[in-house]
Symmetry: C2
Subunit: 207 residues, 2 copies
Amino acid sequence: MPSSPIDPDGAQAPPEPLAEREGCADTEAPEDGLWESERVVSEAVGRLMVLWGFKRNMGRVWTILFLSDRPLTGRQLQERLSLSSGAVSMTLSELARWGVVNKEWVPGDRRDYHIAEGNLWKMISRVLRERERGEIEGAIEAFEDALAALERKARRGGSQARIELQRERIGRLLELARLGRSMLDALIANARMDATWLPRFRLGRRG
Amino acid sequence: MPSSPIDPDGAQAPPEPLAEREGCADTEAPEDGLWESERVVSEAVGRLMVLWGFKRNMGRVWTILFLSDRPLTGRQLQERLSLSSGAVSMTLSELARWGVVNKEWVPGDRRDYHIAEGNLWKMISRVLRERERGEIEGAIEAFEDALAALERKARRGGSQARIELQRERIGRLLELARLGRSMLDALIANARMDATWLPRFRLGRRG
DNA sequence: CGGAGCTTTCAAAAATTGGTGAAACTATGC
DNA sequence: GCATAGTTTCACCAATTTTTGAAAGCTCCG
């Protein structure tokens, strides 16, 4: 019966039901219980996450879950990544807030099992929508406000040359921000429409 | 003769050659010598720069220069943004390393005058090319390395199920990263080709 | 030259961010 | 209930990043 995703008795090295045990011949870096492939990918994803403004550990934890063939407990993540219990807990709840990691509820087991969201486009479009999109929206509003402030100043008098220059340049920033917004929206719409999507990407001139 | 970009005698409030003095009727926030429009835009750009992994002050300084109708000295930036002299100097040299601010050399004036790069696409494509592009390239290589490590492990024996799962999932990450790379390349190519470019943006399915 | 006026450098301070681990808390099993 | 295994919270600590300001360095003028 598939009552439990893993065999609950072997906390440290749970026996695998169908295959031989995992640790039999680790090519390299067996010291922390991570495969070389897991180590390399989790570091790369961690760096990408930092580039995106998230914490490195969010990327690392997500990757370990994504590359695991079974749900993992907080304890297991803690060991594999050499993190404190607090860090694992906080990282997991942040990941959960972004919807990229989910808990699996196993009756009769007090541990929480965690699973990575496997749909990459779903994850990405969600981040784009909630984070990038909001940020660019805020910038657009700021630029619009600035243009309004400029008109107020123009009415009250001031350097016409400077006002005209700012009008033009803030206008360009606004135009650029709106372009960015529509690019994001296009990405998000496509990602939502078809998650397995491997697109051909094109840019064309206006008209 | 256009020997000097501004009248060098009025350090604090240089007289404008063609228009009336700027400070005559500031609508709001005259305390730091910034117009409301400048304050709002520089904050917004500063936030966007943080999102992109740069320092807030880089965005603020660039914006003030971008919205100025004449080159500015370090001193003037220092006053307008209430920064220390060191901060201004370091921020300007960072901006210069990215090629988004240039110095104007005025013989017979010991001050440096600074001008913002006004070509937004040039700036953006440069950042995409040098920063994002490199980062994603590194990730692609890491994923490829991880797949190779996985094959080594497969030959030496190990959980076939886990190896197969990782092969598939790392493969998906790799595919996604390659897609991101081609999107970046498309953006960069278009931005280079035509800097005033206001594109229509499209995504289409493969095939 | 030597002084005036700016800019740059850099060590130290301040601020921010991230991580730790023990205590508090929660959900089972007995 | 109560003990137990696991999770979350949080005050504190460590590492990193940012900012400061004073000293050193330039450049031009007289």
